[in-house]
């Protein structure tokens, strides 16, 4: 039996993180975070100052964060309505950057929050075979590459100093270019703010030359494996962040229906309301169990559990909006207002539903696996 219950150490780390986030999310900051999209540099630096970006960087922080640890932290991120897309940094950007540094990027500056790095996520494919290269190599000159193209949706794109951009290497495989966003060839256009914590930016690159000092690991190795490996962790952390958001919304709703009285009793005492919340809780716990289990298996199984990773993405993607819709309903008229802040979770839930892959592609792939009898049935 896989014992994916968090260990005492993991629980302690998670609790420390929770305390920090409780402190970071002051009431005025919470108000701002619920009021609209945006990025709080102050919040980002406070989290970094607490050493929480280093957690994800091996050899820099004390702890080699496992996927299960990251998932537990992501649950907290989801629960705190942070005005920063922290999950992306912890589960993907920093682990990749720490393992394949680029000469031009001062890693310490990133870990302390003085500089911000993000990554161009694949928006098509499946976890085991993501479409990494939206950007094309226009020309090659010795060890320099000229890249061009359009990244339709970059998280943190507006504030990032660096965008990690996977490109096809002339000799095959993937290189990752660290694109300096202040360059003249880079144009940034706000692309959407469905999730207040993750406003997206369209990034257009018009022929930027990238030298080896701007390539992760100096471009010496194919980074496909490294990127895809950490993308898996990011995906399960998106699920965990969804679980954390859903759990917080459930907590707020339970509190609300205990206080709100109609017919002389708390509205939560009516069975119709109880059952709605029991179902919401059930959906959330179900997604939590699968996400944690998948995270644990990423740490322990010899082969990545890609089929269950897809199950988890699909389940959490359905669960999150469904839970928030129930929470809105149970708030009655108050759920329909801006006051309770549920809109913020709802928007995030809608964003997470198909982030970053299309659900159709994931379902089609999983269906092929299930039909062929290949998908996990019993995990050893």
């Amino acid at each position: 039996v896989s014992d994916f219950q968090p260990s005492a150490d993991q629980t302690m780390l998670r609790d420390g993180f929770r305390d920090l986030l409780d402190g970071v999310m002051t009431e005025p900051r919470r108000r701002v975070a619920l009021d609209g999209p945006g990025f709080s540099h102050d919040a980002w630096r406070e989290i970094a100052a607490g050493g929480w970006l280093e957690v994800a960087a091996p050899g820099v922080g004390d702890d080699q964060a496992t996927a299960l640890t990251l998932a537990l932290l992501a649950e907290e991120i989801g629960g705190h309505a942070l005005p920063v897309p922290l999950t992306l940094a912890l589960a993907l950007v920093i682990p990749v950057l720490a393992r394949a540094p680029a000469e031009a990027i001062d890693l310490a500056a990133v870990l302390t929050g003085r500089q911000i790095a993000t990554i161009a996520l694949p928006d098509a494919g499946i976890p085991a075979d993501p479409a990494w290269t939206a950007m094309s190599v226009r020309a090659v000159d010795g060890s320099r590459l000229q890249i061009a193209g359009r990244l339709p949706m970059v998280l943190l794109g507006e504030v990032a100093d660096w965008i990690l951009v996977p490109v096809r290497r002339p000799e095959g495989g993937l290189a990752v270019a660290a694109l300096d966003t202040s360059r003249a060839e880079v144009r940034r256009v706000p692309a959407g703010d469905l999730d207040f914590a993750k406003p997206t930016t369209e990034v257009i690159v018009d022929g930027a030359w990238i030298g080896p000092e701007h390539l992760l690991g100096a471009g010496a190795e194919d980074l496909t494996g490294l990127l895809t490996d950490w993308l898996r962790r990011y995906l399960v952390c998106v699920d965990a962040e969804s679980v954390g958001g859903a759990a917080e919304a459930i907590h707020r709703t339970v509190t609300y229906v205990c206080e709100r009285r109609q017919f002389g009793v708390p509205v939560g005492s009516f069975q119709a309301v109880k059952h709605i919340m029991a179902d919401a809780y059930g959906e959330m716990e179900s997604a939590r169990g699968l996400a944690r289990h998948v995270a644990w298996r990423l740490d322990h199984d010899p082969e990545p559990p890609d089929d269950d990773l897809i199950c988890s993405r699909l389940l959490a993607g359905t669960m999150y909006p469904s839970v928030i819709e129930r929470c809105i309903q149970c708030h009655g008229g108050a759920g329909f207002t801006w006051e309770q802040g549920l809109h913020r979770w709802y928007r995030q839930a809608l964003f997470h539903r198909s982030h970053p892959f299309s659900r159709r592609a994931l379902r089609d792939h999983l269906w092929q696996r299930v039909r062929a009898g290949m998908a996990d049935t019993v995990s050893a």
Binding site: D3, Q5, V254, V265, G268, S269, M277, C311, V378, S379
Partner: protein
């Protein structure tokens, strides 16, 4: 390998110097033992299997499992178990389910009443009842539900009057599975009438052959009659048949149920996964002759996803078995298992369409019909939702909602 195959779990453990073998070795041994001992015609009998046949097979299989020490492998050695930990027990369950093995007929009695005896029984009671229960010489039925005590079980009215060294029982039980085959019934009866309804209930053993016991088979929705109504008219049982302290039956029973649910849901979740694979094969077979409604394919895929989530949930229940959190997750597991199972079987019948009535497909139809009970027995879905709601901090019931409902 077969020539050297240990015939019991105890021997298999003995062969590895007394401590349980590694999970891989244990798995290999269980697999090899099943290959030798489980006849092909006993494999994959569904809930829809014709009843007399199912009872026969499940009883004989229970006896075989017991002889090998596999029917309650987590029990202490002196009572026929091998003191396996949860993880090893799950390995055994995985192999049994993977081979399509049926459930032992006494699994309910062993899981609930056996656990009660281990914890609260006197040495004499354990001596008398445990071994024949495990090896299926004696079949047990459960006397909990009554005509007016379903979801509100604690309002049960079957009365046991204590007189000197015996009790006199009067009342009626309902939904009693295998009552006709059973030698004994473990029952909850009311021994005190004043005071709160959860107090004053005792757990007793009733000899089903005693004068005054009448069973009347009840036909279930699938047309079978594995369960019955049982009437007690001045049935006399010795005082020694009370298990645990008098008037403490409610606490004892609920304690046992928590642990039982972890293991039984683990087995059910494994069985559901296996059944889903059979339905996928049925789907492919149908697809050779006719178009499949794409909506049904989507439902099968959702069933796969649900089965994976259930698997993870059940593992959490097993690990948290003693914690309060485990109790809530067990309610969730019950809900999600029963509802997923029903959706799955209803998809199978939808795939078959009007051919579901053909003799070759009777078992699917009976399985679906039988599954309708799964959201009802063992605590209805609504009761599970009430329990979950309470656990997450929802307020007590509004006065208008409490009438006729468990507080």
């Amino acid at each position: 390998m077969n020539s050297a195959l240990p015939t019991t779990l105890a021997d298999a453990i003995g062969a590895s110097n007394g401590s349980p073998p590694s999970p891989e070795r244990l798995r290999q041994w269980v697999r090899a033992w099943i290959a030798v001992n489980l006849p092909a015609e006993w494999r994959d009998i569904t809930r829809g299997t014709e009843e007399g046949k199912a009872v026969r097979i499940r009883r004989a299989w229970g006896a075989k499992l017991a002889a090998a020490g596999l029917v309650a492998p987590h029990w202490p050695r002196e009572y026929g178990g091998a003191a396996l930990g949860i993880a090893d027990h799950v390995v055994v369950l995985e192999e049994l389910v993977a081979a399509g093995a049926p459930e032992a007929l006494n699994s309910n009695g062993i899981g609930i009443f056996g656990a009660v005896l281990l914890r609260h029984g006197t040495p004499e009671q354990r001596e008398r009842y445990l071994a024949p229960m495990l090896d299926h010489r004696e079949i047990w039925c459960q006397g909990f539900s009554e005509p007016s005590a379903g979801s509100d079980l604690a309002s049960l009215r079957t009365r046991a009057r204590v007189e000197d060294d015996h009790l006199v029982i009067n009342g009626q039980k309902l939904w009693t599975s295998f009552a006709s085959q059973a030698s004994f019934c473990y029952a909850l009866v009311r021994t005190t009438t004043d005071g709160p309804k959860h107090a004053g209930i005792s757990m007793v053993v009733i000899d089903m052959g005693a004068p005054g016991v009448t069973t009347r088979p009840l036909r279930n929705i699938a047309g079978g009659s594995e369960f019955a109504e049982v009437f007690f008219d001045d049935v006399v049982i010795p005082r020694d048949n009370v298990v645990g302290p008098l008037d403490e039956g409610w606490r004892i029973a609920t304690e046992a149920l928590v642990f039982e649910r972890g293991l039984s849901f683990s087995e059910r979740s494994l069985r559901l996964t296996r059944e889903l694979r059979t339905i996928l094969a049925l789907r492919d077979e149908i697809a050779e002759r006719s178009d499949i409604d794409p909506v049904l394919d989507e439902r099968l895929l959702d069933a796969h996803i649900a089965s994976r989530a259930l698997h993870s949930l059940v593992l959490r229940v097993l690990h948290l078995i003693d914690g309060a959190e485990g109790g809530t997750l067990a309610s969730l597991a019950k809900l999600q298992w029963s509802e997923t199972h029903q959706h799955m079987l209803s998809t199978a019948i939808a795939l078959l369409g009007e051919r579901a009535g053909e003799p070759a497909h009777q078992e699917w139809l009976r399985s679906l019909l039988f599954s309708r009970g799964e959201t009802i027995y063992g605590g209805t879905s609504e009761i599970q939702r009430n329990l979950i709601a309470k656990a997450i901090g929802m307020p007590g019931s509004a006065p208008s909602a409490t009438r006729g409902q468990t507080p």
